[in-house]
Structure formats: C-alpha cells, structure tokens
C-alpha cells in the first residue's frame, strides 16, 4: 500500500463529472507544484488488472492533510513481465492547452485572431471563458485578479489555446498565473502580483533544520545594463523601446536642490529601481526630465526611499501633477537602455514583441478619469459653451414607461417625469414628446433620475409645452427612430464615451481654430528631428437616424492646433454617415513640426444632438483620443493608452529585469525532512507555501519557493526549489535572454 498519501484512479476531474474507479498502489514517485504552473506527477505504481490506469485517466492524490491534487495521465510506460507501471500526469492547466483555440464566430466564419486592449480580468471573461461547454471546460471560472494593467494583445491568424493566452497575458501584465482548485466544483484562474507573497516562513539554516543545501552560481542571466525591445510598429523600422515614457510628478520637496517624486500614472512601478540609478555621478546613468514646456531639467541624483524621486537643481517647468519624460540628454535624446549603478557593465537585451512603446500625448485621452459626469479633466470647452457628458456604453437605447410626474402647464421651463429606470441618464438635446402634443420638448442640461426613476429636465426655451397636460400623461422618449446607438465597438476597455451636446458647424470643412470646441491640454513639444511628426486620432460614434445621409460640416472634426498662434496645423472631418445608420469611425490627422511648438488637440462636435430638428446627427460620441510622435508620415495608430505610456511598461520590465539579474543567478535545491508528518503535528509558520519567501540564514539571502516536490511514498522527504531572484522571473525571462 502507499504511504500517507492515497492515490485513486478517476475517469475525469471531479468537477467534470469524473467518478472514482479504484485505488492505486504507489511504489515510488513524486508529485510537485511550481510557480510556473508546470505542476505534474511521476509515479511508479503496481499494475492491477482490476484498476488499470490508462492515458487521459485522472489520478487523484490526497495527502495526509487532506489536500486534493489531480493530474491527468499523460504517459505511461511498462516493462513486460514486470508488475510495475510508470505514470506521469499533468495538472488541469495543461487541459487549457489542448481544449481548443480561443475563437469567435462572426458572419458564419470562425476567427481566431481575437484580441483587444483590456485588463487581464476582462481578457479572461471576454475570451478565455467562452465556448467552455463546447470545449469540455465548464468547470473553469475566473478567480482572483490582483493585476489590472491594461494589456494590448491580439492572437495571430491561427489563434492561441487558452493556456497560450493566459501565459501571454500574465507575461505582459507582470502577473503570476495559477489555476486553483475550488473544491469539487471547479478550477479558478488567478493572476496575482506574487503567489504566496503574504507568507513568510521561519528562517532555514544548517544546524537548525537543513540537512543539505546545494547551490550553483553562474553569470548566465546576470545583467547590469538592459535594453528592452518591444513591438515594431507598422511602418517603422525600429522596435519600440523605453524612450516614450511618462511619469507623474508628485509633491516637490527641498529648498534647492529639490526632490521630485515620480510615479506611474496607472499605479504601476516607478522609474527608479536603485538608489542613484540616475544622476551626475560617474557610476550613475545620465538623465534629464523633459517637461511639458519643452525644457529639459538635469537629474542630479535619484532615490528609492522614502519614495522614488529624482533630484534637480531647479523646479522651473515642473509642477505637481505634470507628466514628465525621462530622456538621455538636454536635447531630449530618447533613452534606449537602463543601467544598474556601481557595477561593471554586462549588457543584455530583452525582447517582448507583444508590448508597444508609444505614449499618448493627449492627457486623459483614454477618458479614464471623470471628475463628474460633465467634467472631463484635461479637456475644456473653448470658444463658447459646449455641453458634453459621460455616456456609458451600456446605456439603454430607449426609455419607455415615462409619464409626466405631475400636471404640466404650458410654457414652463422644466418638466418632471417618472417611470424611468433608476439612475437613468438624460442628455442635452435629447427630445421628448408628450402624447397628444405635436411639438417635442428638448432637454437643455444633463440630468440623472433618482433611485425611484424620477427626474426633472430643464427644457430649451423654444420647446415648452403649448397646452397644459395632466399628471400621468405618457411621454415618448427621443423621437421617431433609434436616436441612440445600439452598440459600440469593444475598444478602450469599453470605457464610457464622451457624448457631445449641441455644437456649431461653421461653413468650412476645416474647422475654425477659435470656434466652439473641446480642447485638450496644451503641450509644448520639444522638436526632435528623428520624431518630427505629431499625429492625432479619435474614435467617433455617430448616429444618423434620418432617411438621408449625413455629410459635410454637420459632422464632427478633429484638429491639431498651434496653441500659441491659435491656428490649425492639421485637421480632419468625420466621413459621411449613411441614412439610418450608426458609424463607428477613426479619423486621424498629422502635422510635420520643424521647431519647438506648443500644440493642442481639439474636437468640434458638428451639429451633434440636433437630429430631431433636421438631417443632423442625433448622437456624436468620442470613444478615445490619441496623440503621438512618429518618425515618418502615415504612422499607424497605436493601441489606445492613457497617461501611463506603453513605454512605461517596457521601462518597468527593464528595471525589474535589472533588479532580478544584478544578483548572481542562484537556484537552490534543498532537501528537507518534514518532521511534522513524522510527529503528527504541523506548525503553520513553517508550512511550505508555494511562492513564499524563505530566509536562508547561512547564505544571507532570502529566496522564494518556486517549486515543491513531494515524495509519494515518504511524506517526510520534500524537495524544494528556491530562487534567489526577488520575483519568479523565469517565466518571462527564460525565452528572452540575449
């Protein structure tokens, strides 16, 4: 019989309806758990003709503590005339690699090249957890997601398996992947910042509890300088790098010199990994801050405690809340590598083709931050009043059951309604018809219904009632035909859209630079001859509810402006929208700079929201805004990103690699004796937890448990694989070492 563990043969995972088929005698072998999700078992069993273990069967291993681990038999071998069989099995995560490609079906065709810009949790719910029943994975659910970094990822034409997808997402987001058993009912996908991070074990030392410790050191993965290459954008020849980075300035302290704290706008890691990483010392990397006023400020020194900050001689051009870019010199040459201070140079490269490098120069261009439903920071109405409001993409397209909430006299300036869904939104220029009336009432201000579905609308003066109406009179919303878009494309993490209220059209395709517009924050661009082009792009959704096409100046427009001269550098008008159609467009313009220029990006709404009164758009919405540099004309639009530049991801990856790889690579295999099994007790603080930190007193380092291998017949014998790098980087570094 087996030792303390029991091993059973099952027909399938318990959560997949498997049933127990018999007990298996284990003669020897091991089973393991690992941070890289390569959990497996390798067992030698006594062959029993009554309980024959076959390929694709499941082995259910239950240890003395009652922990259940399941493995699907991947291989078995035998020697004829020998009563033993050798079985190897893989954990359920391996099923995610063989259950089929992630796919969508559109227009009768199955497509595998799906993707988007989403958080890991959104990728899992949108793509991984689809077609589960068809692929035999109904037991798979979403678990815990500690990392919410936006990931840009699209599968190639022949697609990826779910396991490929999960590894890519975890790699890019810097998360650790586990598929965790949730009792008998299923397995959950977790993406954590660090598995087992909250567990710290008691110190381990020779003479205390270590019998033998073997270590090997080499410089194979050592690196003191690193260049991180990202994807090569379409039309470019150089791969993306860390150059286009952006960091938020914190509260500046000191009386000269000054400390300028820098943080990632999306709360990722800051730009500094080592004390004095950047500075004027001979052992530091030279760096400057490129400000929004196109000035460069030399970095004198840098620190990581008590915060990540750089030291400067003067704060001219720097203010809390600004975005600054770390560049190599006073002429704003872009950084290409990161260096660890105070060490001899050993340069490596790291290539991750799924990461971009661009920066969105339009602050809050991803519309991620709203101060209120009618206030989008970094964008201001200029040239006159320009109402706009936040429009969630799942806003209902129609509102029914609206009635007058109280009798309504003719000529009043406001109207009370009831019967709306709780917290329903009502937008500027939307129209309502009281049954029995011939004239529409038009809303003049954004309003939100209360929890009881009651709302009071302020009417535009020319749309008051012409006759008194009793309480309870039905009210039809919006007018004939669908006035709101039925759906939106899945982009920009499905964030809320900016919906324009009434605008003005002008008479020219090129909008007037000073007419009523929504204008982004100005940015003084420091001219760099290798990046002379400034591009602007906007995602628009335009609804035309009429029986004729929308054309010309009634459509919204985008322009790059010279903010100082108040002139148009470049502009583009939205394309025509067919009758009774909703168009989702992306329009782009570019400008070739020749000197330092203060630019801004501006949006003209056209005749937004006036669809009731003529052949005009009933809905104009902005889904996102991008502004970026390019080396050549016709640059492809980068994936949408907010204030946290794609370059920051590469920057963080480079620093993480330096932190891990300045230590001599050291992987340690420790053989332990689990006395708790022999003595019949266990001490929680000394329990082995995958991913936990293990202080090795003899070596003076803290290492991380990256793998635990249990002996199937001797529960006291445990082999632990420990890694001296601060995070388990083997997964994403292993195939990128250059």
């Amino acid at each position: 019989m087996s030792g303390v563990i029991t091993v059973e043969r099952w027909s399938n995972w318990a959560c997949a309806g498997g049933v127990a088929l018999g007990s298996v005698d284990v003669l020897e072998g091991t089973y393991n758990v690992a941070l890289d999700a390569s959990d497996a078992c390798a067992l030698t069993i006594r062959h029993d003709a009554r309980v024959p273990v076959g390929i694709r069967d499941v082995l259910r291993v239950v240890d003395a503590a009652g922990t259940v681990r399941e493995y699907r038999v991947q291989s078995r071998s035998r020697v004829l005339a020998d009563g033993r069989r050798t079985i190897s099995g893989l954990s359920p995560i391996a099923d995610l690699g063989t259950s089929g490609r992630v796919r969508t079906i559109a227009g009768g065709l199955t497509r595998y090249d799906v993707g988007g810009i989403l958080t890991p949790a959104q990728f899992v719910s949108s793509y991984i957890l689809t077609n589960l029943a068809a692929d035999g994975l109904s037991w798979l659910t979403a678990g815990t997601f500690e990392v919410s970094t936006l990931v840009t990822l699209t599968a190639p034409g022949d697609g990826w398996s779910r396991l490929d997808w999960l590894r890519q997402i975890a790699d890019i987001a810097g998360a650790e992947l586990r598929v965790r058993r949730t009792g008998e009912t299923g397995y959950a996908i977790d993406m954590l910042s660090a598995i087992g991070a909250s567990s710290v074990m008691a110190p381990v030392a020779l003479g205390k509890n270590v019998i033998e410790l073997a270590t090997t050191e080499d410089d194979i993965e050592l690196a003191t300088a690193i260049t991180v290459y990202g994807a090569t954008p379409t039309g470019e020849t150089l791969p993306a790098g860390i150059g286009e980075n952006a960091w938020t300035v914190g509260t500046i302290t000191g009386a000269g010199p000054y400390w300028v704290p820098l943080t990632d706008p999306s709360a990722g890691g800051g730009p500094i990994a080592f004390a004095s990483q950047f500075g004027t010392a001979s052992t530091s990397q030279a760096a400057y801050l490129l400000t929004k006023t196109a000035t460069t400020v030399q970095v004198l020194d840098s620190r990581i405690s008590p915060d990540q900050a750089v030291q400067v001689a003067a704060t001219t051009g720097l203010a809390a809340g600004d975005l600054v870019q770390i560049v190599a010199d006073a002429t704003a040459t872009r950084l290409t590598e990161l260096r660890a201070p105070n060490v001899s140079r050993l340069h490596r490269t790291d290539t991750v083709t799924t990461l971009r490098g661009e920066r969105n120069l339009a602050r809050n261009g991803d519309l991620a931050t709203w101060t209120s439903a009618t206030d989008l920071p970094e964008f201001t109405a200029q040239g006159g009043t320009l109402p706009y409001a936040e429009y969630p993409r799942d806003t209902p397209t129609t509102l029914s059951s609206l009635v007058l909430n109280g009798a309504l006299a003719s000529g009043v300036a406001t109207v009370s309604l009831r019967g709306a869904p709780a917290f329903a939104r009502f937008y500027v220029d939307e129209s309502f018809l009281v049954v029995g009336q011939t004239n529409y009432m038009t809303n003049s201000a954004y309003a939100v219904a209360d929890s009881g579905g009651n709302v009071t609308l302020t009417l535009q003066s020319f749309t008051s009632l012409t006759a008194t109406q009793p309480d309870g009179t039905a009210v039809a919303a919006f007018g004939s035909g669908a006035q709101r878009p039925a759906s939106f494309p899945s982009d920009n993490a499905n964030r809320s859209v900016l919906r324009f209220g009434y605008g003005s059209t002008g008479t020219s395709t090129v909008p007037s630079p000073t007419s009523r517009r929504l204008q982004g924050s100005a940015l003084r661009v420091k001219y760099v001859s290798a990046l002379p082009y400034v591009n602007a792009s906007v995602g628009l959704t335009i609804r035309n509810a009429h029986t004729s096409a929308l054309t010309g100046v009634n459509l919204p427009a985008l322009a790059l402006r010279d903010n100082t001269a108040s002139t148009i550098l470049s502009s583009v008008r939205a394309a025509s929208v067919a009758l009774n159609a909703t168009a989702h467009q992306i329009i782009t313009c570019e400008s070739l700079l020749t000197a330092d220029t203060t630019v801004d990006l501006a949006l003209w709404p056209g005749a937004a929201g006036q669809g009731v009164i003529g052949i005009l758009p009933s809905f104009v919405g902005v889904r996102w805004v991008m502004m970026w540099f390019a080396s050549a004309s016709g640059s492809a639009i980068p994936p949408i990103v907010g204030d946290s530049a794609y370059g920051n991801r590469l920057f963080q990856r480079g620093n993480a690699a330096l932190l891990a790889r300045t230590l001599v690579s050291r992987q340690i295999r420790a053989t332990l004796r689990d006395l708790s099994t022999a003595a019949g007790y266990s001490i929680t603080r000394e329990a082995l937890v995958l991913g936990a930190t293990l202080p090795l007193e003899d070596l003076g380092v803290s290492v991380r448990i990256v793998g635990i291998t249990y002996n199937a017949t001797d529960p006291t014998a445990v082999e632990v694989v420990l890694d001296s790098r601060p995070t388990a980087l083997a997964t994403f570094l292993a195939d990128k070492v250059g």
Binding site: M1, G3, T6, E8, V19, A20, L21, G22, S23, D48, R50, V51, L206, G207, K208, N209, V210, I211, R673, L675, A678, T713, D714, P715, T716
Partner: protein, 270 residues
C-alpha cells in the same frame, strides 16, 4: 520433524525430512535513518527493505530403482510447484507462504551415486518466504451488524473482505466503522450508491480492505466495479495495536445499516 505442503504430508509424498532450518526466522530488514541537526538521534526512514526469509528443508527421497529417480523427483517437483502453503507441526493452525527454489540432489552414498545400492537420494529444497508473517490456516468470518463485532487479531494487521448485504437505495449513505478496543472510531468508510445505482436484497457489496476494491456482486454472480460508491472517510486495516491481545480484547467493526460478514485471516509476525 514434519510439515505439510499444500495440505499434503511428507509421508504422502513418499519422503521424510532429514533437516529443517529457518522456519521460525524473522525477515532480515534494513531501515534507513536520517541524522537530525542539533539532535542526538536519528529519524528512521518510513520505508524498510526486507530480504526474503530462507527456509531450508532437506528430505530423504527413496527411489524404487536407479532409473526410477527421475519419476520420483518429478513427483516431488510437482508437489513443490507454485505458491506453497506450509504448515509446520509446532504451529499446526498457521501457514507460511513460500515458493521453492531449485532442488539440490545428492545420492545417499555419493561415492556410489550411480549404483542401485545408492539409488535413494537426499534432496535439499530451499523455500523462499517473501512475506515476513504467518497466517491462520483457516479463514475466519465475523458477522457484522449495527452492533460492534469483535475482530480477533494476531500480531500483524489483518486486511480482509467485507460482504455487505441488504437493500440499499441510491443516495443513501452507510458507514463501515472500525473502532479500537476502547470504542473510539479509528476508521470510517462511507459509501453512497450514486444516482442510478442500488443494491437489491439478493445482491451484496464486496469491500476488500487490503486491495481497496469495492465490487458489487449480483445474485447471478456478475461483478462490477463499485468504487465510485466510496463517498467519504478513509480506508483502514484492522490492526493488533488497536486491541489488547493479552486481555483478549479486540477492535470492532460495525455497519450503520444492513448486514455484513467480515472474512479474514489472522496474521502473525515472525
């Protein structure tokens, strides 16, 4: 000296025993040990290795004639073929399982080995007992009910087979409980027929505590795997350490419903 081989006496085989050695020797066991840091002592390894026990039997084998030796030896080889149950006269109620190795044959007068006078033989038979225990020669049966029934044991664990009968519907959980001599439940095995499965009054469930088989046996003798009926608890094996052999107080087995029979042999350490 006398012994029976698979129930046959040596006399019935036409031979007599000259010498017998090793029949009561215990197995030669090796056990690893791990030294513990900072502790005056070692941690014994959980797994032991043991060599097979060697029992050596030397027989006087008469032959009617010189050329009759081959037939006599063939008869003897047949008697010692396969897995043997050996019962020795000093432990008449116990058997030892062994396999015979190659015979060593010598003439009763080696210098005259090919003469009629020296036709009788001395045959040495090595018997290898891989099992370091002896067993009752006759199995025992204990009736199981909802009242605990004592399981008399030897000095080693005695895995046996439970035959559990009584009409049993799907979804109904029943337990087989093993209690120590002081009445504490040391092991409980819970079985529940899954949806679509049941036991009629003329069928029974066979639970092999040693091999951990669960088999449903119909009235027609059809046997099907019913391992999926195991719904909780853990497998156990009755052990002598759970009783008090000197006081003849034993651990017990009982079933929560239905009726049962526990079939087993006591085993004894050598």
């Amino acid at each position: 000296m006398a012994l029976t081989v698979n129930g046959r006496t040596l006399a019935s085989l036409g031979v007599t025993a000259r010498e017998l050695s090793g029949w009561l020797d215990g197995p030669d066991m090796a056990r690893g040990a791990t030294p513990l840091p900072n502790v005056l002592g070692v941690l014994p390894a959980a797994i032991t290795t043991s060599a097979a026990r060697q029992i050596r039997l030397t027989l006087n084998v008469p032959a009617a004639s010189l050329t009759g030796r081959a037939a006599v030896l063939a008869t003897l080889e047949d008697a010692f073929a396969g897995l043997l149950s050996l019962r020795f006269d000093d432990t008449p109620t116990r058997i030892v399982r062994a396999v015979a190795g190659a015979f060593t044959v010598a003439s009763i007068a080696p210098s005259l080995s090919m003469t009629e006078m020296a036709r009788n033989m001395i045959v040495s038979v090595p018997l290898l007992a891989f099992d370091g225990s002896s067993y009752d020669d006759e199995p025992r049966s204990v009736v199981l009910s909802t009242s605990p029934a004592e399981i008399a044991l030897g000095t080693l664990p005695a895995p046996g087979i439970v035959q559990w009968s009584g009409a049993w519907s799907a979804g109904v959980a029943r337990s087989l409980t093993y209690r120590s001599v002081n009445g504490i439940a040391y092991g409980v095995l819970t079985l529940t027929p899954p949806v679509g499965a049941l036991l009629t009054a003329s069928e029974f469930l066979e639970i092999d505590l040693g091999r951990r088989y669960v088999t449903k046996v119909t009235s027609a003798g059809v046997r099907t795997n019913a391992y999926s009926w195991v719904s909780g608890g853990a497998w156990f094996v009755p052990e002598a350490s759970d009783g008090n052999r000197q006081a003849a107080q034993w651990p017990t087995l009982d079933v929560s419903a239905g009726a049962g029979l526990f079939l087993y042999r006591r085993s004894w350490a050598l």
